[in-house]
Symmetry: C2
Subunit: 387 residues, 2 copies
């Protein structure tokens, strides 16, 4: 018998803290008045801190995919050659958006479950002696596989080549390390329903002056996503179009929580989740899709035991415990299940979920002593708490 | 001394009922699970009822302007000739979006404060014997002036001409009469923060099979707004991209409230607001921008007394009473102020606002006996309540 609310362990949307829910319940105000101007200024500065950038940040009323489209239509012109680095579903999606808007896309696919190899990118870029490549698209945290790209090394591999370096950090920002200015990233897109802990509906796009110079020469069609309108209105303390005010209330509260905790502590916390979940799952004898070196701090992809089917495990977890995990997408459907551990999760939540996973696996016939995974999780936590 | 919350009298965003705020506070769920599928099915059917259509409705994570862009990129191809009928700022915006995406736009401007004349449209359409015009863009309720177009007559004026008839009903739907199927409208866009009473962040687009056939031939670039993806995912009970789940909770509650009240009653209620506000303002000796015949049931544009300045009145209303009214846009800036009366407003709210307006005008030096407008409002209400 299931009681209570869903136990959400997706890689977004993530649970929303009560503080944020309460903040979102405030009455709607005039989006062209002084109160909203103050909120917009505050959250824009807060989001910049999370991006670690002193450059421009715009907030769109949209899903994360809207932010990816914004990056394409503002910074890539039809006919531009684009190098798309894909390690999964979302890398493919970014490439497809660029192609849809007229770019000539050269996509390099790495095997699903692996990160992009900077050396291969370096070789590719080095061969482009005439600088025909105008933009490089890359995923920070690939949600479909649970792999984090080494964005810093990939950026270094591009070196002095003038192509814009555009990062999809929708699910990665504030869960996995990313330092926009220090790493010299030109455009970085993110979203609200991941490590920002608020419901879906806002997308963020940061871009530097190099990107702005490219925008000035851009000839793609755009209206809703046009950064010029966004920047002009931001100067007035407004959005060009009516902003989702309740989500802005939530974002302001979330940023306060994030700055109270400290960005470095948030990243460390996510690394702890990763270690906890991976070690416990390994102790259960299950295989992980991603290698340790490239595993995401935001989610863990677990390969279902042979013959069991990942979706059967997910169904049982939901039916028995009301725990919602994500499945595999496309060719990973029924092969993996994905445990989200980003944003507002607690070690206690993960302890109980791992214990429930053991019970479920055993119930489905997987040969295992109950407790091996849970014990390992306790040992990891003991180490984390002893530090 | 101002106490309490802002008294919001904008033509959107509008106040949000407590029932809806509470509904929006529910925990976020899996947007690819059975619970969300049920919500999506329910709200899509509910929105269809408000549109009075049996055709397709898609819900976008976006502002209303996003819905207008969706209408353009799905149903208008680059090079298409488009007839844009503008009676104000939002008519101009719709025309500009079409031009931005490559349409050859022929814009007919009617004086601000007036509705479009169906005879002029009929003449224009009749002259297009080769059917070069592929789409007609028209605003239902022009928020910048407080004028409602006679959509039914405009549609009839187009007759059998095959151009798609595309309506911006962002601020008008469910406040002013609109019957999509009965009036034979092909595409109608609306938004959440108006008569739907929920915070901004959702845009709706309804389209019929004629529009779908045009879509099949369309060659505009699009990804985020692509109706094919929207329809395919809707079949699975999902959105292509992560939906703003909390706003969906709000929309479900709002639709329940709207269907409890009944669409016809809602429209009558708005007509009552219009009469109440207009008669009271006239009794104060002030002029209205729109003539009675075309005045919007959603908002009323009032011309400030000579020499007083509309923005001074708005500032005083906010400083003295915490009442937020909208100003004039572009050439109407400081000329008019706009009293929003759509969605979740009550007669009591309007009574107090009209009384406060009198006090404010007198304080600013306008020669008037206190009470003439308030008394007129009471008389109108007495008539409405005697019916």
């Amino acid at each position: 018998m299931i009681v209570g609310e869903q136990f959400l362990l997706l890689p977004g949307p993530t649970p929303v803290p009560e503080r944020i829910v309460r903040a979102m319940s405030k009455p709607v105000i005039n989006h062209r008045g002084p109160e909203f101007k103050e909120i917009l200024g505050e959250v824009t500065e807060g989001v910049k801190k999370v991006y670690r950038t002193s450059h421009n940040v715009l907030i769109y009323p949209a899903s994360g995919t809207g932010g990816l489209e914004a990056a394409v239509v503002n910074f890539i012109s039809p006919g531009d050659r684009v190098l798309a680095i894909s390690i999964g579903v979302f890398g493919d999606r970014f490439a497809r958006i660029a192609a849809e808007f007229g770019a000539v896309v050269d996509k390099i696919d790495f095997p699903w479950g692996q990160a992009a190899d900077p050396q291969i990118i370096r070789d590719k870029i080095t061969r482009d002696v005439n600088h025909e490549i105008k933009a490089i698209l890359v995923t920070h945290n690939e949600t479909s596989t649970g792999v984090c790209n080494d964005i810093k090394s990939l950026r270094q591999a591009v070196g002095e080549h003038p192509a814009l370096f555009i990062v999809d950090a929708v699910s990665g920002l504030a869960a996995a390390d990313l330092d926009m200015d220090e790493w010299n990233l030109d455009v970085v897109v993110s979203g609200s329903q991941k490590a920002f802990m608020i419901p879906p509906g806002l997308s963020f796009m940061a871009f530097n002056d190099r990107a702005l110079a490219v925008y000035d020469q851009n000839c793609n069609h755009r209206y809703y996503w046009d950064i010029r309108a966004g920047l002009n209105y931001l100067d007035k303390g407004q959005n060009p179009f009516t902003p989702p005010i309740s989500l802005y209330y939530g974002l302001r509260e979330a940023l306060q929580m994030m700055l109270e905790e400290g960005l470095e502590n948030i990243l460390q916390r996510h690394l702890g989740y990763r270690r906890l979940v991976r070690e416990a799952v390994k102790a259960m004898g299950l295989d992980l899709l991603a290698a340790d070196a490239n595993a995401s701090p935001a989610l863990t992809s677990v390969i279902a035991p042979a013959g069991m089917g990942a979706n059967r495990i997910r169904r049982a977890m939901q039916e028995e415990f009301n725990i919602v995990m994500a499945g595999g997408q496309q060719r990973l459907d029924d092969v993996i299940f994905r445990i989200g551990h980003l944003g507002y999760v607690r070690e206690l939540d993960l302890l109980s979920v791992l214990a429930a996973l053991e019970i479920t696996l055993i119930k489905l016939g997987y040969p295992m002593e109950p407790g091996v995974g849970a014990k390992k999780a306790q040992e990891i936590l003991l180490k984390i708490h002893n530090n």
